[in-house]
């Protein structure tokens, strides 16, 4: 059973990327058109005039020095370690930085979101092998297709992160800015870990570990198709177990490095797990969606409703797991109310009410109620609709990780954000569906294939 990416899909993906590139470029151009503090003054006056930015401006004068923002890191008053530095900067200067940060942050959010899907699927795939699951081998080729995006996606994320601290003006990670570190005792204390060289070295270690596993598991999986013994399967079993150990450490560290360090003063010990839940549920959702898409093309006839049912059960279950971790993190910090910790949520609840609480509705309430009924988990279009909601919710989740630290209250989902989604979404589709066409859609040599084909719930 072969699949070839259709010309229509390829062209659609390329058009998406082109449109996305236009959006991203225009985001950078319009951000760079605001060059000086004087420009910002004009802009703020205009906003105030239109009544639109009124609340923003007022808010800002009064409170910006208490918040964690781009430079919030450098004047977190709770520590008092370096309160002075921040006050050298005027409000307009802050706004200027935030305007310049936005296209970078938007690009980073989009890139991370699609990368995270591929890495989540890779973990799911490894779990299937390590647990010798009998139900899922019919889906292996779909998963392998999605994980093809892991390597390019991860490299893009790391490149954007590094570029923001070299080509850009430290637009995503303030700790990359030596001037900030100079006045910041807390970041100085962490600089043994949080410095550019180590950031890059760690990134390369993470990515090469994941890419090696993905390369060999795919190789053995294809070799197993024509083998007459189970040697390749056994190798895959072993490397999957080893990969999961590697993954559980590197995924957490990646979450600290690539996500949590945008707020370098703040930390949460379960952040890695929280990011994991997000990538896991998005990944499983995409497996279900692509499987249903291929089925609608008349392919994958060996995938039955019970397989979709199981994927939907995972979507339901991991959505709740995500909420559990999110809430565990939130409640402890909210309850103890320690200024340097709670500032993270104060910023989000003050300036990000809609995405912050909207994300909870999309990631928890909707999947909970929509997928609760057992019969609905077998209705393909229903799974697709719920999947779209879950993906939107987890995009917002990534948005809430990065944006508050970089643009504070000057957020919007406009040209740069949608542009980044289209750009990386198009690339994701192109890479994934091209990879799907490179091998038969049935991993027929897998020893559990018969069980999987007859899987029935």
């Amino acid at each position: 059973m072969e699949y070839k990416i259709s010309n229509r899909l390829r062209i659609a993906a390329i058009i998406m990327m082109a449109l996305g590139l236009i959006g991203v470029t225009s985001g950078f151009l319009s951000a760079n058109s605001v060059k000086t503090v004087e420009d910002v003054k004009v802009l703020l006056a205009e906003e105030a005039h239109h009544g639109h930015g009124d609340a923003h401006a007022a808010d800002h004068h009064g409170e910006s020095h208490n918040e964690e923002g781009h430079h919030g890191a450098s004047h977190d008053e709770a520590h008092g370690a370096h309160a002075d530095e921040g006050h050298h900067m005027s409000h307009e200067e802050h706004v200027l930085h935030q305007i310049h940060n936005r296209p970078w942050a938007a690009l980073y959010v989009g890139a991370f979101f699609f990368f995270m899907i591929a890495l989540g699927v890779l973990a799911f795939y490894a779990i299937q092998y390590a647990s010798q699951a009998g139900w899922s081998p019919v889906l292996f080729r779909v998963m392998e297709g999605i994980t093809a995006y892991m390597l390019p996606g991860a490299i893009i994320v790391l490149l954007i992160a590094v570029a923001s601290g070299t080509i850009g003006h430290y637009n995503i990670f303030v700790w990359m800015n030596p001037e900030v570190v100079e006045h910041d005792k807390l970041i100085q204390g962490k600089s043994g870990y949080l410095n550019m060289t180590w950031f890059i070295v760690r990134g390369i270690i993470f990515i090469s570990g994941w890419a090696l596993y993905r390369h060999f598991s795919r190789k053995f999986s294809i070799a197993q198709d024509s083998a007459d013994d189970n040697k390749n399967f056994k190798k895959n079993f072993r490397i999957s177990a080893a990969f999961l150990v590697f993954y559980i450490y590197t995924e957490s560290m990646m979450a600290w490095d690539w996500v949590m360090s945008v707020d370098p003063h703040w930390f949460s010990t379960l952040f890695g797990w929280y990011v994991f839940a997000s990538m896991f549920v998005s990944g499983i959702t995409v497996i279900a969606m692509i499987t249903i898409y291929l089925k609608s093309k008349g392919l994958l006839e060996f995938v039955n409703d019970s397989h979709i049912h199981d994927l939907a059960k995972f979507m339901f279950g991991i959505s709740i797991f995500w909420t559990y971790l999110w809430f565990s993190q939130f409640m402890l910090i909210w309850y103890s109310n320690i200024p340097e910790e709670v500032t993270y949520f104060v910023t989000r609840i003050e300036h990000y009410k809609l995405p912050f609480f909207g994300m909870l509705a999309l990631n928890f309430i909707f999947p909970l109620l929509l997928l609760m009924n057992s019969d609905y988990k077998r209705i393909n279009w229903f799974v697709i609709m719920t999947g779209i909601i879950i993906l939107c919710g987890h995009y917002l989740d990534v948005f809430n990780w990065i944006m508050p630290a970089t643009v504070v209250d000057r957020w919007f989902i406009g040209m740069p954000e949608i542009g980044a989604i289209l750009l990386f979404g198009g690339l994701f589709l192109l890479v994934v569906f091209t990879a799907l066409g490179k091998a038969p859609l049935l991993a027929k040599g897998n020893p559990f294939m018969k069980e999987s084909k007859h899987f029935h719930y």
Partner: protein, 179 residues
């Protein structure tokens, strides 16, 4: 009524039982009941039983539990005895809501689980000290028993059941008062 006579067909394997059920259903005979030592997957569908509604009751019980938790915490912590815990004065339910979420969760699960089990027992007409309805004690060990009502067709039924692999076929007078 004639239905007081029933046939008990006994099987020793759940796969044989499943195919027997399908054959008996195909011949349009009504299966009264099947006794098995363990739950046999897919048996309810093969017998043509209506799908269970226990999930719906479970959802409703969960909603009751959630409501009880909300009302209870509102009374205890906001109305009856507001306290200042960790700098969070309990004057507003909404502002203190995150602290109550674990209680909401626990009571939702508690109500859903316990009431669902109780509903299941009542619906199955089981209560303490009830005499077992089980017609043959071997069905609690390793035998499967299919009970079919007889309507003057015992010969036809017996030959059909023999073909399905029953190891034992008994014609019994069913005493309706027994349960």
């Amino acid at each position: 009524m004639e239905a007081s006579k029933v046939i008990h067909a006994i099987y020793t394997d759940d796969d044989v039982l499943m195919s027997a059920v399908k054959k008996v259903k195909a011949e349009k005979h009504h299966i009264e009941e099947i006794y098995t030592p363990f739950p046999v997957h897919g048996l309810d569908k093969a017998m043509g039983l209506a799908p269970t509604r226990i999930a719906i009751t479970s959802f409703m019980y969960g909603c009751v539990g959630l409501t009880v938790a909300i009302v209870m915490m509102n009374f205890i912590m906001i109305k009856d005895w507001p306290q200042d815990i960790g700098g969070k004065p309990s004057f507003s339910y909404l502002e203190n809501m995150p602290a109550f979420v674990p209680i909401m969760f626990e009571l939702t699960v508690f109500f859903a689980a316990h009431l669902m089990v109780i509903t299941f027992y009542l619906r199955s007409r089981m209560w303490p000290f009830k005499k077992a309805e089980n017609p043959d004690p071997r069905t609690t060990d390793d035998h499967f028993l299919m009970e079919i009502a007889v309507h003057d067709n015992e010969n036809e039924l017996t030959s059909l059941l023999q073909k399905t692999g029953a190891v034992e076929i008994n014609l019994v007078d069913k005493d309706e008062d027994a349960h």
